[in-house]
Assembly symmetry: D2
DNA sequence: TTTT
DNA sequence: TTTT
């Protein structure tokens, strides 16, 4: 019965985030690709070598909005999520499977790199954080690594209902 | 500004859980010791060796109640939490520091071992999980490794919103 | 340049391990499927719900041999590995991608559940763990969760050197 | 018997690394303090709050040398290690306990932040990474996120000898 | 003080 | 003592 499904990645966005999509529940969804590079030295030749792995990341909820707003191609992030393999079909009706790392309210996203990221100019994120959060926030009295104007997100993107004052100020 | 503080342990309880204590906020608090054992073979002698590390775990909120109710000396668990070092004083006024692994609503506890654990007989946990959960739970439509009758707990809905008297009240 | 790619799972084997395969380097390779189940209570209906995720795990090296020898359908394990997406082609020449969790010498496998597992009867693993270990082990004086007679494996000393024909030889 | 003891931190060095020390085995040892900061917004007051946790980190082996050479006060790093509580005595003979995060060859250290770190000027680390690595590195044929010119280190500092053909062909 |  |  016990089950643990956890992924931890540090890498860089392969491209600017695409447009936000929304689930029927109202939660935002955003897909990005993340590159994690490992490097080592070839023992035989002494050469430095590296291998890059590309991951499909799916941000759900508040975090999706933060990613859209603050991150761009090349941004370095820390991500905690879980594995999920989706089955889908080609237009020809063939089954296909895609494995993604889902970062929802049980996951975490942290921006790395120090330098202050700027919100994407011309951001098309017509998102009323205020209202959205109200309905879904974590319960009152819950600490949360909430960064507010700071572009970082820890266990956000979810509802855990709360005091109205909480959500008013914290955009995720 | 980014910060990650995460501890993952699998080990066995060193003793039956003590009594639950409560914070002013109403959140339950429970301390246990957890042993993690690593084994290896001494390369020189070929002998099998092992080393046991003892960890002070502090469960806060719903998880504390589950631990109290279902776990006992020897129970094997998986735990996700964060490090916290508390300063306290001896009766003589000397400073002391104790490092603990805090498992609150952002952490996780999973019972391992398969065999169905029995609730502690004579349990003094007058706790209506259902009602409690309903009132503070994560938002609808969100999966959660909810404990309820099941002796497992993942990011349960608990508060530990904090009064400034936290440390004063809880002499771990 | 920094990169972290880490997966942590606790789940149960979906079937007995298949046969060991070997890379040109001599390293064993073993594929298994692992189910991680998450349970939660539907907030709206109050019903208990669960979702099982199936993961493709690839054990490489010493750990592969231990898994083959000690684990079977239903065995509960803890696994630490990394994500890797492989590209392969159908007989028709179409590209396909499969994401796996690779557990090599940088990963870890721990058996859970307490009850003593028995080596698979009729095990065809003619493997001298002792000798193997001696020759390739980590440096003296270094602890290591050595497997040997003990059915546990943490970053064991294994190779998985390979040839360019890796994918060809190993039809996961 | 299973045991997992793992700590994952992202934070900043509180000070420049002190001098390297060496164990009888020849392994370098280096202690640093690392700050991890979590921020959240106070639900009652709406104020942004933060709490910083200070961790005692002990780097052992190759990683210790890399930290000494490349990191300084304020450097942001990712660290994977394990918890260890040491008992020691005051001059008066009183027992004291200190909990540290040990980052040895089973752990990992990654520099974050992007900006190219400069080796400490006037570095007193007369360390020939190349030669040193050869002598103590992981065994041939094993990939390793080798640091060398690159200021990153993943599970290095250990041997685990292997096939010489490994690195040539398989980049993972 | 656990567990194997 | 870091960082934002």
């Amino acid at each position: 019965m016990a089950g643990v499904n956890r992924v931890i990645l540090i890498g860089n966005l392969g491209a600017d985030p695409a447009e936000l999509r929304y689930m029927p529940s109202g939660d935002a969804v955003l897909n990005v690709t993340l590159a994690t590079t490992e490097t080592w030295k070839d023992r035989a030749t002494g050469e430095k070598r590296e291998r890059t792995e590309w991951h499909k990341i799916v941000f759900i909820g508040k975090t999706a909005e933060i990613v859209k707003q603050y991150l761009h191609k090349g941004s370095q992030i820390y991500v905690e999520g879980k594995l999920r393999t989706r089955k889908w079909q080609t237009p020809e009706g063939q089954d296909r499977y895609t494995t993604e790392v889902v970062v929802d309210s049980f996951g975490t996203m942290q921006m790395l790199g120090g330098r202050q990221e700027q919100p994407s100019s011309g951001s098309s994120v017509p998102f009323d954080e205020e209202a959205h959060y109200q309905g879904q926030g974590r319960p009152a009295g819950r600490p949360q690594t909430a960064p507010a104007p700071a572009p970082s997100s820890s266990a956000p993107a979810s509802n855990y209902g709360g005091s109205s004052t909480y959500d008013d100020d914290i955009p995720f």
